[in-house]
Amino acid sequence: MIFKIEDVTVYFPYDNIYPEQYEYMVELKRALDAKGHCLLEMPTGTGKTIALLSLITSYRLSRPDSPIKLVYCTRTVHEMEKTLGELKLLHDYQVRHLGTQAKILALGLSSRKNLCVNTKVLAAENRDSVDAACRKRTASWVRALSTENPNVELCDFFENYEKAAENALLPPGVYTLEDLRAFGKNRGWCPYFLARHMIQFANVIVYSYQYLLDPKVAGFISKELQKESVVVFDEAHNIDNVCIEALSVSVRRVTLEGANRNLNKIRQEIDRFKATDAGRLRAEYNRLVEGLALRGDLSGGDQWLANPALPHDILKEAVPGNIRRAEHFVHVLRRLLQYLGVRLDTENVEKESPVSFVSSLNSQAGIEQKTLKFCYDRLQSLMLTLEITDTDEFLPIQTVCDFATLVGTYARGFSIIIEPYDERMPHIPDPILQLSCHDASLAIKPVFDRFQSVVITSGTLSPIDLYPRLLNFTPVVSRSFKMSMTRDCICPMVLTRGSDQLPVSTKFDMRSDPGVVRNYGKLLVEMVSIVPDGVVCFFVSYSYMDGIIATWNETGILKEIMQQKLVFIETQDVVETTLALDNYRRACDCGRGAVFFSVARGKVAEGIDFDRHYGRLVVMYGVPFQYTLSKILRARLEYLHDTFQIKEGDFLTFDALRQAAQCVGRVIRSKADYGMMIFADKRYSRHDKRSKLPGWILSHLRDAHLNLSTDMAIHIAREFLRKMAQPYDKAGTMGRKTLLTQEDLEKMAETGVQDMAY
């Protein structure tokens, strides 16, 4: 359908639209007009992504003189693929209606691991080794060497791409990663470098958060995006965590050992170069004297992770004299490693601010703050000079330099915590020195400053006023949308007791109680026998899930479950989990039905949809609190309290409930869909906990469903499923329009949006 929002003609690829999608677009347009940031919460299952994409692309079409670019950030690669899938649909529609002028270039970007088509490089196991294998074939000095020595192996795809030079362009269209690979294979061009090159021409870029938030990655990928871009963070309820993760580094024993080995290697290389090519080291020294940390322009193959500090915090001055010479720098690093080793040898937990850490480092190892700050740049320069290509081998020393640079740069918002062992496993000594960032606003600040509009959106952003404080920005629009329901297609319930009336909870003192474990098991046994197709269960933690499944296996509960449905489980092995999910979907498709056991905060909870028959019921076992005794969490809570006056308990509950809401929100995708949500913990019946759930869940949570036992829940579930199986009128009844047609929209445009019926 095609309709107008004020002066913008919106091309929407469906015949109907939900009223909340329309409103969402209106608000979004206002934010774009104001060139400001916005914060929008809209329930899952109301087509956020398509509303967003269709408004922004239509907005671009209506302003041909000042084209805006869309930078769409997702949390995961599979969400990226999903988004691009929807964009394809939209693009087809727009081209069909507008012809070639609507053509855009949209592409997904990922790491070499996901884009490479060179089979030899792909044979490497993980991302770091793929990166290194690629660099071994594409670094400028390797390619220079190959002109003399034909035995040096290069990558044909990269060579072809370089040969094509300026002509290596992607024709307009929407490219998923798969499409990029296919295109690259076809043309013989390297898809990874092609995609990175095309970023500056693309109208829509879809990639992960880190490509924009993490300075290490953003530094070499997103440097050249123009200000007239709209940045969207989708599923952004966890954005604060991504931000603080991007600026946190830790050092372990293995890191130090590895770093020492790296230094030995570097030392050897320096000696070798001194003997054979002393001029090169001298040239580097001279360059550093002149104040240039890096040799101007690096060719694509040479680039490596950028400075871990944020761009505006990087000092633009010459590298201090005491580390200009390569040997001196190696000495400084040795002293640093030694000092860190001593600090790791502690018996007690230590917490320190960066300032005091730097000053004790200065007094005991004689390393100044300014020297620390330049560690990253100096190492980078040295590694380029020494022509080191196997970067994956040198990760430990890079980690240490990243740590040094960060600790030297930031005095506020960070703390250093040294723990001799993990508190939950005191019998395993595993000392760790962590530099952890507490302030999420640091990492995201450059994004807010740099781009004209930043949109933060998700299904769960409650309480919506907390995010501007956590991220320290002022949105021009901040709204939470309700969901207009055609019928009560979600059925949240709070289960507090088992059939034997014993309370259930994952509170620490209760969770391993046999009665609780049994009641949790019985609940599932009963549910799988009445719920069709897919059932998903979330547990509070991996270890808890492991334990409870083992107990169910011993007591025969698992066997009873397996009589009804197949059982699939998220494990710590990502490959296995992916296959389990794939099988789970197939079991649901073929009608066999299955249960999926997963973990809140896990990878599955983060981004996999269990919509339609893939999930008719979600059971959330317990409240997914963080481990509250964690020192880092304590430090962060303290910081939040001091800086933003956010109460500790409030933050913990907020965090736990947003995770729970995220888990259960995965069941619904459209209004034609339906699903049940069971919160199985007595703590959910308390108002202070429950009220933190997003409004769209709360509005369906009836008072009668707040304190249920298993048998009552079964009864309600039966009734609900029976009701949902009936045919219904999709357009909504009795004046409550839940599906708008073109006509409705035109009528609304005349009378004003306010009349929209909810």
Binding site: E245, S250, T399, S436, S543, L566, V567, I608, I632
Partner: protein, 591 residues
């Protein structure tokens, strides 16, 4: 059946308690002969195969000796104890085949001589069916007792009811049990530390399907390196080591015993399969791709211990395998289903068949590029939001399957709402017929096209059909709920229905007798024709007898029956003429 004879050393026992007489058993197709070693013994035995009613035997793996128990028709049992299982299986197979042959023979005789050699059981079944189904009984009475049809002819068309066919039909493939293999618990005798596992072919199959490494090991080791029993003993030893979760002991034992190590090591074939499968996974689920993209989880970057991620003891120990992995693997295998169709007791055959199937499916996966295409298509399908789109399917009228008449009645309103004269109706029917004929011709000429029949044509045909039926009801239906049949007096209604079923029965036999190749069929057709003309006249009589206001409707009902009979008569006449003409040409020709 090499040589058609088999000979084995056995002990013969007349009862279970009997210690047994040693001797040898000789089995031929027709009979079974036991000759004792001791010529003085009087336990010489001779059993005709057709007298054997059933055979029982002890399962392999149970701790009983290999016994074969044959029961004859007089319910006397003969027990033979064999020296080993293969011997017993060989004999058992032989007897099974011989028995099957014996069963076939009496069947043949029934067809050829039509003699009534029926087992009592079968007769009982027939009586039971007749008792339960009054309509069937009535037909039976009418035709069989009046000698129009013979008993056999009558039942021949109802084989399904007798359950004969169901035996011949291929069985539906059974899926796998959803119970875990690890769920099999050993039995203990309670006194010693010995445990006993009972393995059935089902369990073995499941183990092989879930653990390709065990399958491979079986093919490699059995029987060249160890016996099957040793193999399974080792396997369960390894399982036991897993269950103790004592990795140190497992590692130590594996170091000493390389065969045991095979079971304890992670499954490499499985790992290869996994790598293969992950490439074909739906990209919207592919979390492995995330890992390759996730720069926050660079080594030691990001937050390690803030309590969001939880800690689990390191799992990388190669002698540790988690329950969760087993569960996932098991569910995947159950989902895959039984991929082979080997009903063999021989474990080796099963193992080899499974390996073959796996190789084939792998090759398939490599050759078909369609899978990728299909994956992408599925993705784009899923990308759309279903309820925002216009519905894909066309509006349907609810169809009640209980009584087809209701469908036409519900449609009647739609059709009759259009005002139209009686003439219009008539023309419409013809038009519709014409259209249908035309499109059939077109199909003949051009072959099938994409919409099989043009929607307009089918709509036209349907609506005029509906209309005709609806009008029939409309003319006499004052009460719309009442169908015409209900308005007839009960006796007439019953009569009409009964005639209908009996005509159907007769016609079925009639048409199935053509072409007439034997004299038997010839006389049958003659009898059938007489019976049909009899019924025909009865129909006429019934038409006369009904009240005048109903007569028209009854004749409408009767007409199709008469038409069907007329067609049969016509065919009979034509055939007869042809036949006489032929026999005129060839005076010696057989009929």
């Amino acid at each position: 059946m090499a040589g058609g004879q088999i000979e084995k050393l056995v002990k013969y026992k007349s009862t279970v308690k009997d210690p047994g007489t040693p001797g040898f058993l000789r089995i031929r197709e027709g009979m079974l002969l036991f000759v004792p070693n001791d010529p003085k013994s009087d336990s010489k035995l001779k059993v005709l195969t057709q007298n054997i009613k059933s055979q029982k035997y002890t399962k392999e793996g149970s701790n009983k000796p290999p016994w074969l128990n044959l029961t004859n028709k007089q319910a006397k049992s003969h027990i033979f104890e064999f020296e080993n299982y293969p011997d017993m299986h060989a004999c058992r197979d032989f007897i099974t085949k011989a028995l099957a042959k014996c069963e076939l023979e009496p069947n043949k005789s029934v067809v050829s001589t039509s003699s009534e050699q029926l087992s009592i059981k079968e007769l009982e079944l027939r009586f039971k069916l007749l008792r339960e189904n009054s309509e069937l009984q009535r037909l039976h009475k009418q035709f069989v007792e009046s000698k129009v049809l013979t008993e056999d002819e009558f039942w021949a068309t109802r084989k399904k009811l007798l359950g004969k066919d169901s035996i011949r039909k291929s069985k539906q493939q059974l899926g796998l049990k959803s119970m875990m293999v690890s769920g099999i618990k050993p039995s203990t005798d309670g006194r010693t530390n010995r445990v006993t596992f009972n393995l059935t072919p089902e369990i073995i199959f499941q183990i092989f399907a879930e653990k390709p490494a065990v399958r491979q090991a079986f093919i490699n080791y059995v029987p060249s390196k160890m016996t099957e029993k040793d193999f399974w003993t080792k396997y369960f030893r390894a399982e036991y080591l897993y269950s103790t979760k004592n990795t140190a002991v497992a590692a130590a034992e594996a170091a000493e015993d390389e065969e045991l190590a095979v079971f304890l090591k992670p499954d490499e074939i499985l790992a290869r399969e996994t790598r293969h499968k992950i490439r074909r996974v739906d990209p919207t689920l592919d979390m492995e791709a995330d890992q390759g993209d996730d720069y926050t989880h660079l080594m030691d970057h990001g937050i390690q211990r803030d309590g969001t991620m939880d800690v689990v003891e390191p799992q990388n120990d190669q002698f540790k395998r988690s329950l969760l992995q087993d569960l996932n693997r098991h569910a995947a295998v159950v989902l895959e289903g039984r991929s082979i169709d080997v009903e063999s007791e021989d474990t080796r055959i099963v193992a080899e068949a499974l390996t073959r199937v796996k190789q084939v499916s792998k090759a398939d996966g490599e050759t078909t590029k369609d899978a990728n295409q299909e994956r992408l298509e599925r993705m784009s399908r899923v990308a759309g939001m279903e309820d925002l789109q216009a519905p894909q399917n066309f509006p349907l009228a609810p169809l009640s399957i209980k009584d087809p008449r209701d469908y036409f009645e519900s449609q009647q309103g739609n059709v009759l709402n259009v005002p139209r004269g009686a003439k219009g109706l008539k023309r419409n029917v013809h038009e519709a017929y014409g259209l249908l004929k035309e499109s059939i011709l077109e199909i003949r000429a051009t072959g099938l096209s994409d919409p099989l029949i043009k929607p307009e044509v089918s709509f036209e045909v349907f609506s005029s059909l509906t209309r005709t039926i609806a009008t029939a009801k409309n003319i006499n239906g004052k009460n719309p709920r009442e169908s015409f049949l209900d308005r007839l007096p009960k006796s007439t209604k019953d009569e009409v229905l009964h005639h209908w079923t009996s005509i159907q029965e007769l016609l079925k036999h009639f048409w199935s007798s053509y072409p007439i190749t034997t004299t038997y069929l010839h006389t049958k057709v003659g009898k059938l024709k007489d019976a049909m003309s009899n019924t025909y006249s009865k129909l006429e009589a019934m038409k006369e007898s009904v009240q005048s206001d109903l007569r028209h409707q009854v004749s409408l009902l009767v007409r199709p029956m008469q038409q069907a009979l007329d067609a049969a008569f016509h065919h009979y006449e034509v055939d007869l003429q042809r036949r006489t003409a032929k026999s005129g040409e060839r005076p010696n020709g057989y009929v």
